[in-house]
């Protein structure tokens, strides 16, 4: 009955409906963190460090765009870290065999998308909960990559164009940042302005409703899984390129960084709610903290502890805000 008494409209705009004040908290946190670190260590805002942060943000953001959509459909993919390593190994191997960066990149992205497809089929066809299903594929991929190759696969042909994917620049901007920006903008447009984006929200908000309304719910979830997988392929290529090798041990804990960033950005694990702007801010907060701790020369164990605290604090603030809204 209380909820029924109409709360004043939060915002008359579409943005207002989907974007919560949660972002104001994140923006404030980001500003405070950046100003604080800059005061302590001026090199923090050197162009070299800003570019370094942007490149790290890019890697996470690329996958986080897919993960945001996946979480919006009320599913999750924990296998992205393990897949990231495997993508690099596969891509490097194909490049070594074919001597073609294009074919290697294609193979890497296709491999990532295939992992996504398998995850999606397990979830939608076998009806296995995605958390469990993707823990399963994560383990399979972690073991599988070693079965495939115990050693890092080196860039035998030393093709410079492969190195450029991760380490190259267009003007002063690193290529991964441009790739991430393109993916982010495209994802944003899809999620905000297209029927596909709206349907993703619908499936996550209430799958039965979506089905009764004539939406292809299975197809929509599969789409989100495959997209996330393909974006892991893109990120895996960049990581492989940065390391100039396919590293089977790479990507440890990557899935947690991605999911933490998405949740920090206000996307709900239970589906139907989330924004890419929030995800962008979430990635920035986590990566700036990561960078700041090194620049401040603090104990690096804090690189795990601080984001953990920030995540819980942000979610709690969000709960407080929602409670205030509900009154």
């Amino acid at each position: 009955m209380v909820s029924e008494v109409s709360a004043p409209p939060k915002s008359a705009s579409l943005v207002g409906a989907l974007v919560g004040n949660n972002q104001i908290v994140l923006v404030a946190a980001l500003v405070v963190i950046c100003v604080g670190i800059s005061l302590a260590v001026p090199q923090f805002y050197s162009s070299a460090n800003i570019i370094a942060i942007l490149r790290q943000v890019a890697m996470v953001l690329i996958v986080a765009c897919g993960m945001t959509m996946l979480l919006i459909t009320a599913e999750v993919d924990l296998s992205v870290g393990a897949s990231l390593a495997f993508v690099g190994v596969v891509a490097m191997d194909v490049i070594n065999v074919t001597d073609s960066v294009f074919l290697g990149a294609l193979a890497g992205i296709a491999f990532g998308a295939l992992v996504g497809l398998v995850n999606g089929l397990i979830v939608t066809r076998l009806k296995v909960n995605s958390l469990i299903a993707t823990i399963g594929t994560m383990m399979i991929l972690q073991g599988g990559v070693f079965l495939y190759s115990r050693e890092a696969i080196q860039n035998h042909h030393h093709l410079p164009s492969f190195v450029d994917i991760g380490a190259g620049y267009v003007g002063p901007v690193p290529i991964p940042v441009i790739v991430a920006a393109v993916i982010f903008i495209a994802s944003y447009v899809v999620l905000r302005h297209t029927t596909l984006g709206r349907y993703l929200f619908a499936v996550g908000a209430n799958e039965k409703t979506a089905r009764l309304s004539g939406l292809r719910t299975t197809w929509l979830k599969l789409f989100a899984f495959v997209l996330t997988g393909a974006l892991v392929g893109v990120a895996g290529l960049i990581l492989g390129s940065l390391m100039n090798a396919g590293q089977p041990t790479a990507g440890r804990g990557f899935e947690l960084t991605v999911i933490a960033a998405v949740i920090l950005g206000g996307t709900s694990l239970s589906g139907g709610r989330g924004t890419l702007i929030g995800t962008l801010l979430g990635v920035f907060v986590l990566k700036v903290i990561d960078d700041g701790i090194i620049v401040l020369q603090w104990n690096q164990d804090l690189q795990m502890i601080v984001p953990g605290v920030v995540l819980i604090a942000a979610i709690y603030l969000d709960i407080l805000r929602r409670r205030a809204d509900a009154r």
Binding site: M1, V5, H193, T194, L196, A205, N206, L212, S213
Partner: protein, 507 residues
């Protein structure tokens, strides 16, 4: 004897009332939920608390249950002024509230749940399980109800879980039992049983608060009725002084002349939906036609297969046999996507579970099925979408502060109107409505009835599944009765009577 002396004598002899709430006020940011409300109970009497959604019933009960604190007013229990700090505190003071959402631990047995806070222990401090089971059985005997005390609580139907809650009340020696909309998911037989148990409680001297907006029930069980509206106390009267009309008038603040408007003439004679020989696990050989411009009502008791039929003909659940044609075109493949594109859709009985996207704004809920028509190349024309949605909000008088209000903040009636608008925006020719007024208060019910009537008048074919007899008789052009998955009777509007329908329904 002078009047004053008589009153004084009564005051001296009578025991203090079990509960007196006076001048209760409660506000939430921006909203006054309760304003100077009084409520007093008599021992051994059933006091009905009525009002539309948003009237303040739930807030009042939650204050009594210790869920909310009050801003103003006093509470006296058995004559002593007190405050209720928490749900546990309420129970200690003898108040047991049975909420709509049962608060039992579903993995525990019935007996364990009853003695949750006070397990009898043996000398060693270990729990005396035998005694728990015996005591639990004794409690059920007192309320005249039999249930397996060793059963896992979650496995019991809601009606029996309510009985467990009532037994819990007795275990705590509660003097006040509050029942919040207890019959909203019960069958008629279960309702009858519940009333028997309530009468047992009153015979034990327990005061019962009965919250409901079902008029028939209130007339059957209540001794006194208090009506709230917009957080204010409107009236408290013995039930004998009320008629249906006066009670509704108190609740909605105006008179209802005609609950079931009828603006339409004869159906067109064009078959909009043709169902032939449909069979599923729950349905057997169901065959019927619906014509454009008519309301075909389906009645049946719990488990008769109404909802199953509704879900099968809109492609949500698979069918084993039979054909379904919409406007002469077969529903093939048998899925909702095809169904919607052929022009048939379901207004579900389970709004939260299958109808609403609770966290999403009104406009997204409203436009969901028709979104494709606002899109070019996949991009949504949001201005057109909003204009269309606003059109329905105005036409259906959907009360929402904004198109972007999350739909969970709307009342049941307004939510239902949004869901109906979702299908109209899509342009369906056949709408299957399942329990269209479940959980909706009286004023809004009338609006829903009017809308359904209007839709039929506009040429839509309406298939209405309902367990409410007045609704069935008031709205339907034809009535089909179901029992055990089959059609057991078919009546024209003129033939249909309550008696004939019930006879057909009881297989």
């Amino acid at each position: 004897m002078p009047a004053e002396a008589a009153t004084a004598a009564v005051a001296e002899t009578a025991a203090p009332l079990p509960l007196e709430m006076t001048g209760i006020g409660k506000h939430f940011p921006g909203v006054i939920a309760l304003d100077n409300v009084d409520l007093s109970l008599e021992a051994g009497k059933v006091h009905a608390l009525m009002g539309e959604n948003g009237a303040g019933k739930s807030t009042l009960i939650k204050i009594l249950a210790g869920v909310y604190g009050k801003d103003t007013g006093t509470i006296r229990i058995a004559g002593r002024e007190t405050s209720i700090a928490s749900p546990g505190d309420a129970l200690r003071q003898g108040i047991k509230v049975v909420f709509q959402e049962i608060a039992l631990i579903s993995e525990f047995t019935v007996a364990e749940n009853i003695f949750l806070e006070q397990y009898p222990t043996g000398r060693s401090g270990s729990i005396n399980w035998k005694k728990i089971r015996q005591d639990a059985r004794a409690l059920f005997e007192r309320i005249g109800f039999d249930v397996d005390t060793n059963a896992r609580t979650g496995a019991l139907p809601i009606s029996q879980q309510q009985m467990v809650e009532i037994a819990r009340a007795l275990a705590h020696e509660a003097r006040i039992v509050v029942m919040d909309e207890p019959t909203s998911s019960l069958t008629p037989a279960e309702v009858a049983l519940l009333f028997t148990v309530i009468r047992r409680l009153t015979a034990l001297g327990i005061a019962v608060i009965y919250v409901s907006h079902k008029l028939d029930e209130v007339f059957e069980i209540a001794d006194t009725v208090t009506v709230l509206r917009d957080g204010r106390h409107i009236s408290t009267r013995p039930i004998g002084e009320h008629t249906h009309d006066t009670l509704i008038q108190d609740m909605i603040g105006r008179q209802i002349d005609d609950l079931f408007p009828r603006s339409r003439g004869q159906a067109s004679g064009k078959v909009a939906l043709s169902v032939k020989g449909v069979a599923t696990e729950k349905l057997r050989d169901v065959t019927f036609d619906v014509y454009a411009g008519e309301v075909l009502g389906f009645f049946g008791l719990m488990g008769a297969g109404r909802t199953e039929l509704a879900k099968a003909i809109v492609g949500f659940d698979p069918i084993d046999k039979g054909t379904i044609e919409i406007g002469g075109r077969p529903l093939h493949p048998h899925d909702t996507r095809t169904a919607v594109s052929l022009g048939i859709g379901l207004l579900t009985e389970d709004r939260k579970g299958e109808g609403l996207m609770l966290d999403l704004p009104v406009v997204y809920n409203l436009s969901l099925a028709a979104l494709g028509s606002f899109a070019r190349g996949g991009f949504i024309d949001e201005t057109a979408e909003r204009e269309a949605a606003q059109g329905y909000v105005d036409r259906f008088r959907i009360r929402t502060p904004s198109l972007f209000q999350e739909i969970k903040n709307l009342s049941g009636g307004n939510q239902q109107k949004v869901l109906l608008a979702r299908w109209l925006l899509r342009g369906l020719s056949v709408i299957v409505v399942d329990e269209p007024t479940r959980g909706i208060d009286v004023g809004a019910k009338q609006e829903i009835f009017a809308l359904i009537d209007q839709l039929a008048a506009d040429g839509h074919a309406i298939v209405m599944m309902t367990s409410e007899m007045p609704e069935l008789l008031g709205l339907s052009d034809r009535v089909m009765v179901m029992g055990e998955g089959r059609i057991t009777g078919s009546f024209s509007r003129d033939e249909a009577t309550q008696e004939k329908i019930l006879n057909a329904a009881i297989v």
